[in-house]
């Protein structure tokens, strides 16, 4: 028996560590910079980029029949040497706007020359994906300021940081300043619509609101032009600094320094600078907004959405679950009905999560949300629903329902584990039922209740299927809980991004699926880490509570 149980544990551990190791190895390696290689083919074509994958394949006869003379002899010799197999490499060639491809396969027999050019730059930019090229010149105001690779690189480094700083300033103006002005205008517009709905289009109230709208409109125009001027000035300043690159095929490309997120000569880096690039890529991944249909940039909105949703869900599910369990265990008299309820709760845990999603969509979003919209957001919802569609709050509620059985069962178990002698002792001292529960039973059961909450959080944070119906979306960069200057501060009605859904999206729906694949592992690693952190936080809370309650008891 020892062997059987021990063996089962070993198998379980092996599977879990295997999975974690796979995710860790694949996920952690994604951001490590790789060298840039240039392949010159016998056909004269040139490919330059990072090698992402190597595989051996058995070439088809028809492949060689296209070759002629020496090329064919060489290929056949290579084939014989490899024992019927030939290696080929998947090269990330980037430069999508010039080539129309992100990746290209290069087979060994085609390659005439393979080298690592010292000045090949990897450039990660805001649009169009990566760029691979060698620095040719640096332009300031259209004049060539440097034309040797070293000088261009030095100048670029000098101007890159200030350019990016100006770019960030511009983003700030665009997002926060314009956002504030827009929100004001929108509020006035909605007030006008509401007045028209409440009192009729011809009413004096509507006329007053229209007058107010005019005033706001006028002020807003002034502010807009001020902000626009500031943005234009920044843009013009940024347009002054350009780097000229030549691709492996000899094409020239001008890039503004401000458009470049990160550039480095990959073949010249030592381990420390590689680690620097690695860290900087992780930082971007954790803190930035996604770019290029989520295939680049960061996942900060998804992290935010996941964490906020899990926390709201816990706040909703724990009180409900604990109260329900208290009634079932402490107040209800045993009987057929209580047993039936208990069985029903246990069965609820076995309902497929997508069913909860459907219920959430029908009941919360359409019925409750639709009603809220009709009653409170008549004017705003004319151009689209406010609460009557998937959103953070509805998603949290749906997941709270989903995890309710976990909390109820765990709490019931914890309550049952409190010895009856303690309750009786409390009654003997003259305490009422509620006093006994509050002072004696709950503190004792608290660690067990917290365990239920931890389980519920882990279950909820990793759930994706129901979220797809009730509010998780591909792109929602505006954070649902962003505390900005615009009331009402928290927008729990908004759709949100979720890491689990992000993984699904990257894995199954990304256009550039080859580049997205490593990101899937990295995002998975991040999701696991976040769930672990949330759990650790709950465990820490449980320890604190346990100490507090135990100390207070005596």
């Amino acid at each position: 028996m020892v062997w059987l149980t021990g063996g089962a544990l070993a198998v379980a551990l092996l599977m879990i560590t295997g999975l974690l190791l796979l995710v860790l190895v694949q996920g952690a390696g994604t951001f490590w910079p790789r060298p840039v290689e240039r392949f010159t083919l016998h056909s004269g074509a040139v490919h330059m980029g990072e090698v992402t994958r190597v595989e051996s394949f058995e070439p088809d006869e028809s492949l060689f029949s296209q070759l002629e003379g020496p090329a064919r002899a060489r290929a056949e010799a290579m084939l014989a040497e490899g024992g019927g197999l030939i290696e080929r490499r998947l090269v990330r060639i980037g430069n999508y706007e010039l080539t129309g491809e992100h990746f290209a396969w290069v087979s060994d027999y085609e390659v005439a020359q393979r080298e690592e050019p010292a000045w090949a730059l990897i450039i990660e930019r805001l649009e169009w994906g990566r760029f691979y090229g060698e620095p040719k010149a640096f332009l300031i105001d259209g004049e060539v300021a440097a034309d040797s690779p070293e000088a261009v690189w030095a100048l670029f480094n000098e101007h890159h940081r200030p350019s990016r700083q100006r770019w960030r300033e511009r983003r700030h103006l665009e997002v926060h300043e314009i956002g504030r002005v827009n929100a004001r205008q929108e509020a006035a517009r909605i007030a006008l619509r509401q007045a028209e709905i409440d009192h009729g289009v011809e009413s004096p109230q509507a006329a007053a609101a229209a007058a107010r709208f005019e005033v706001v409109q006028h002020e807003v125009e002034g502010e807009f032009s001020r902000i626009r001027d500031a943005i234009r000035a920044l843009n013009e300043e940024n347009a002054r600094f350009k780097i000229v690159l030549s691709t492996a095929q000899g094409q020239e490309k001008h890039l503004e320094a401000a458009e470049i997120v990160r550039a480095f000569p990959a073949n010249q880096l030592d381990v420390t600078s590689k680690a620097g690039v690695y860290a900087s890529r992780w930082k971007e991944f954790l803190t930035a907004d996604p770019r290029e249909a989520n295939s680049e940039g960061g996942v900060f909105p998804a992290i935010f959405g996941t964490v906020l949703m899990t926390i709201i869900m816990s706040l909703l599910v724990v009180p409900f679950g604990v109260l329900a369990a208290l009634y079932l265990r402490e107040y209800a008299k045993g009987g057929v009905v209580v047993s039936a309820v208990r069985i029903a709760v246990n069965n609820l845990a076995g309902v497929p999560s997508i069913v909860f999603g459907v219920f959430g969509l029908g009941f919360f979003c359409y019925l409750m949300g639709g009603t809220i919209d009709q009653v409170f957001f008549q004017a705003k919802s004319a151009s689209g629903p406010t609460f009557g569609t998937g959103g953070l709050f509805w998603a949290s509620l749906t997941l709270a329902l989903l995890t309710l059985p976990v909390v109820i069962v765990a709490t019931e178990e914890a309550l049952a584990a409190v010895p009856n002698s303690m309750r009786e002792g409390s009654y003997a001292c003259g305490a009422s039922k509620w006093q006994t529960i509050k002072r004696i039973v709950l503190p004792r059961a608290m660690p067990g209740i917290m365990t239920g909450m931890i389980l519920a959080m882990a279950r909820g944070a990793g759930e994706v299927a129901p979220l797809m119906l009730v509010g998780a979306v591909k792109l929602a960069p505006e954070l649902p809980g962003e505390i900005n200057s615009i009331a009402p501060f928290f927008h729990i009605e908004r759709s949100f991004m979720h890491l689990g859904f992000h993984i699904y999206d990257l894995g199954f729906q990304s256009q550039n699926s080859e580049a997205a694949k490593p990101m899937v592992f990295t995002t998975t690693l991040l999701l696991i880490a976040i769930i672990a952190i949330l759990n650790l936080a709950a465990i820490w809370l449980r320890m604190r509570l346990r100490r507090k309650f135990v100390a207070n008891q005596f």
């Binding site: 649009e127 629903p385 591909k474 759709s495």
Partner: protein, 328 residues
């Protein structure tokens, strides 16, 4: 109907390509006659798009481009399949419904029942539905009848026999005896519907087709399975797969899935990608949607189309579409 539209486009495009200095991208160009998008004042609110998975990334790119002009607009994009677009538009839970096929009569009826007018279809870009095989597969091309015989159990295309092995498509050597492994989309997808209608001649799919939740997963499935075949939008092509040249029937030549063949209408599975909106004819459309549609049909918006691997519409179609919404 689509063919007619595409044919009409050819003329437009030939005229357009005669103009000078287009924005070059690989081989394809954005029509230089398209207007540059300039932001206007007073645009705010939420863009909520529910619909096609084929258009999912494209909607996201448009949204990102639009966000750059109007940072305070909120954007929410969901792409679970074209079939999800009409209910969301009817319910009012979305204001844009991207679809990779035209709405069916029944869907239009339901919409009309609720609103009293038809939804407006905006042809935003051109896609070629490609039949993908593994990159090592040397097959020179397939006729639509062969495609039908591979994917369909009803063979409405009229091919003589059921095709289950690569040898039946004329391949020799190690390939001849290998069974064909089929990949396709799930039934919520517009790609599924379009392929059924045009490549299977409205027949039924074989049960052996492995249905995938996204266009990209079809391509990944084919990429990892040497003897596989699957269908998906041209925008999802990777280096690991090859798009098979197709012929409309055994008498015609194989046509490469290349952009020039999409525009001439020679490629048999070229289609428009639509965005549907709820617009009462004759009324003014609200500023948010008006500007987003204008962005889609601007130079920047059509450059996003190229970025996603699809093909832009010519300026004439763009202008005609804007006219439908009363935008000029």
């Amino acid at each position: 109907m689509l063919r007619a539209k595409l044919n009409r486009m050819i003329g437009v495009l030939v005229a357009a390509s005669a103009l000078a200095a287009p924005s070059v991208f690989g081989q394809v160009k954005v029509d230089p006659a398209l207007p540059e998008y300039k932001p206007v004042k007073g645009v705010s609110g939420t863009i909520k798009s529910v619909g096609s998975d084929t258009l999912n990334n494209l909607m996201t790119l448009w949204a990102e481009g639009f966000l750059k002009m109007y940072p305070n607009v909120q954007i929410e994009i969901e792409g679970k399949g074209s079939t999800t677009a009409p209910p969301a538009l009817i319910q009012g839970t979305s204001n844009f419904g991207p679809m990779s096929r035209e709405m069916k009569a029944q869907e239009i009826d339901e919409f009309e029942k609720k609103y009293g007018y038809k939804p407006t279809a905006l042809p935003t870009s051109i896609d070629m539905l490609a039949v993908y095989v593994h990159k090592d597969n040397p097959i020179p091309g397939m006729t639509l009848q062969q495609v039908d015989a591979v994917f369909s159990k009803t063979r409405r295309g009229g091919y003589a026999e059921d095709v289950t092995r690569w040898g039946q498509l004329g391949m020799t050597g190690a390939w001849a005896n290998q069974p064909i492994s089929l990949y396709g989309r799930n039934s919520a997808s517009g790609t599924y519907g379009y392929f059924k209608e045009n490549a299977l001649f409205k027949g039924d799919y074989k049960d052996a087709v492995k249905e995938q939740p996204g266009s990209s997963s079809v391509v990944q499935g084919v990429a990892s399975d040497r003897y596989a075949i699957g269908y998906s939008g041209i925008g999802y092509k990777t280096a690991d797969v090859r798009a098979v040249p197709l012929a409309a029937d055994s008498g015609s030549e194989f046509v490469e899935a290349a952009p020039e063949n999409a525009y001439t209408g020679a490629y048999p599975l070229a289609r428009f990608l639509y965005v549907y909106v709820n617009h009462k004819p004759g009324t003014a459309i609200d500023p948010l949607r008006r500007e987003f549609v204008r962005y889609i049909f601007s130079k920047q918006g059509q450059l996003d189309v190229l970025k996603d691997g699809y093909y832009p519409v010519p300026a004439a179609i763009a202008a005609e579409t804007l006219e439908k919404l009363g935008i000029r």
